[in-house]
């Protein structure tokens, strides 16, 4: 199935389109102002993903111009990687907390989610991506997934593929996801559909590579309307790295079991399960899980119960093997090597 694989998205210059789109966001100022007034909020907290932080000060000014003078608007400076990653310190201090760029993981009276849909056209790049698909005469079944950012055009994407003769299979996934066809870096339940090819429409390689790791039996076609690129997601590099990390960790005598304190990433029951039968396993709690923060613990290997992408994407940056819980059970002999699967998150908090 992977014979047509193109390594890396950036390498696929043949199918790059020379288009540029104006990237403007509607950040729903009117809705925000209305909620602040209605709730008579005195302190408003704002949280942005890294790429949008630079827009923070302007949005603060816009909000301040629309509310009473004594309203304090504060921006979280903490790194933010998803709706799982709410700045609970600022949340506590805020009457209203506005989380930009992600869809709701859990509804809350205090937390307002502003998804920030992109206005980028998706059809031109999808047209180009058709050539990577099996022809609809041969294989009419296709899965379709996207990210929050482009979800506003999900129906358009679906109709396009249908017009091309495909039967488009979509589902919402589970309760961690908000929308039909939506994927997260840690959850690809929406791609569990009756099709062996799945088109991902969205920016970057982060999501489709996760998708290719979870659904290794499926061909994942990337139609990236942000960078105007088409390619096939190839997770082989990651899978090889996982096997290497597991093998290295098989010699470990002492283990650090990392519990992530981020609100949507805590899996305490997994930590307890691991330490119960391993007297050389030490629990370490962290919010940001970085190589530097683990350096001082002189342990042979680590298990990361937080965001799985820290193991898969950042794994090689750690000085010691950084396994997922599933990989730990393989490295310590409970589970067979063949049982290796990508770690995914379900539920909210």
């Amino acid at each position: 199935m992977h014979e047509e694989v193109i390594e890396g998205i950036e390498g696929n210059s043949e199918t790059k389109m020379e288009l540029t789109y104006e990237r403007e966001w509607d950040y729903e100022l009117d809705r925000i102002l209305e909620i602040i007034k209605k709730k008579e909020a005195k302190t408003v907290g704002l949280q942005f993903p890294e790429g949008l932080k630079r827009r923070g000060p302007k949005i603060v000014s816009d909000i301040k111009n629309g509310v009473r003078q004594d309203v304090v608007v504060a921006i979280s400076g903490q790194p933010c990687y998803g709706a799982c990653d709410i700045d609970t310190h600022l949340l506590k201090r805020s009457d209203i907390f506005i989380h930009f760029g992600h869809s709701p993981m859990k509804t809350s009276d205090k937390i307002i989610y502003v998804p920030l849909y992109s206005n980028v056209e998706v059809i031109p790049i999808m047209k180009l991506a058709l050539e990577k698909l099996e022809n609809s005469d041969v294989n009419p079944n296709i899965g379709l997934v996207t990210t929050t950012q482009h979800w506003n055009r999900f129906e358009e994407m679906k109709e396009f593929l249908e017009q091309e003769g495909y039967t488009v299979h979509t589902r919402r996934g589970d309760e961690r996801l908000t929308y039909e066809g939506q994927v997260l870096g840690c959850n690809y339940a929406s791609a569990e559909v009756d099709a062996d090819q799945v088109m991902y429409v969205g920016g970057g390689k982060f999501h489709p590579l996760g998708l290719a790791m979870v659904h290794r039996e499926k061909k994942v076609i990337i139609a990236d309307p942000v960078n105007n690129l088409v390619s096939i997601a190839d997770a082989n590099k990651f899978i090889k790295q996982r096997y290497a990390a597991i093998h290295k960790a098989m010699n470990a005598k002492t283990w650090g079991i990392v519990y992530c304190t981020k609100i949507g990433q805590g899996r305490w029951e997994l930590v307890e399960e691991i330490i119960k039968d391993n007297e050389n396993a030490y629990v370490i709690t962290l919010d940001e899980i970085t190589p530097e923060r683990l350096l001082n613990f002189k342990l042979d290997a680590f298990v990361n119960t937080g965001c799985p992408r820290i193991s898969t994407d950042d794994g090689p940056r750690f000085k010691k093997p950084m396994l997922t819980p599933q990989e730990y059970w393989i490295a310590t002999g409970r589970d067979p090597l063949e049982s290796l699967s990508f770690d995914t998150f379900h539920g909210t908090w």
Copy 2:
């Protein structure tokens, strides 16, 4: 007063003693076990300063050997720079939280402080430090300060100086401090004594440099029993850097006002005071205040209302001026340049 200044502590090889001390710590295992049993704690959180984190796993094992099998002991992996810097995420999850290496900033039923006194001898290096003091015949008055780590020998230090003919002036400082003669990186109230020379007995240059910045009229003699060094603290480099940062910030149009969410470093009222009259000042909340985390905010200058040592010691690492609140008032014209003083913290939380 500063004519005898020696630049940098490490440079002073003449007065380095070739002694080595065994560095063993009594971390009060019996007291810890007793409290866990008495409180019937199910989850115990441990927090260490960076330099002691490597000892964490061994201490976990020692504790687990002395308590019921179902007690979970977790180590905080967060950076920790003082008693102001409690890992509140782990605290919340713990029945008993043990903070190692610092003295209590605030008493609490749940937080146990284990100060970890050093067994290093202090008299040999103090003897050597005498030559940097004014003779007791000429100037008998001397202040004496130390850190928590060496406070167990404070009486011994005091008696030694008295035997040498000095009148030793000491005080507790304020409520942020636990002990007579104790200094913190952000609080030197214990050196507000009637003496124009102060001896600091302790490791490193972090504390005495802060002391020299706060009490610029005093000569600060360092007797470092850990590195076996004697020198005079010279804060001139820092003071020059502060003036340079202020001057650079005088051109700033937009400001980021950083509020630190660490439990003992929050000064919200200072933030509010600053933003009240500056519509181009944006509040940013952070736990760890690092250059990387501020890069995405395209602002001209920052004010740090958290730990003052981030401005003084790490200031040059930031791409934009990182002022203390006092320095902000100078840069924006409310206060005169001559009013520059070192930012200090008082009170607890």
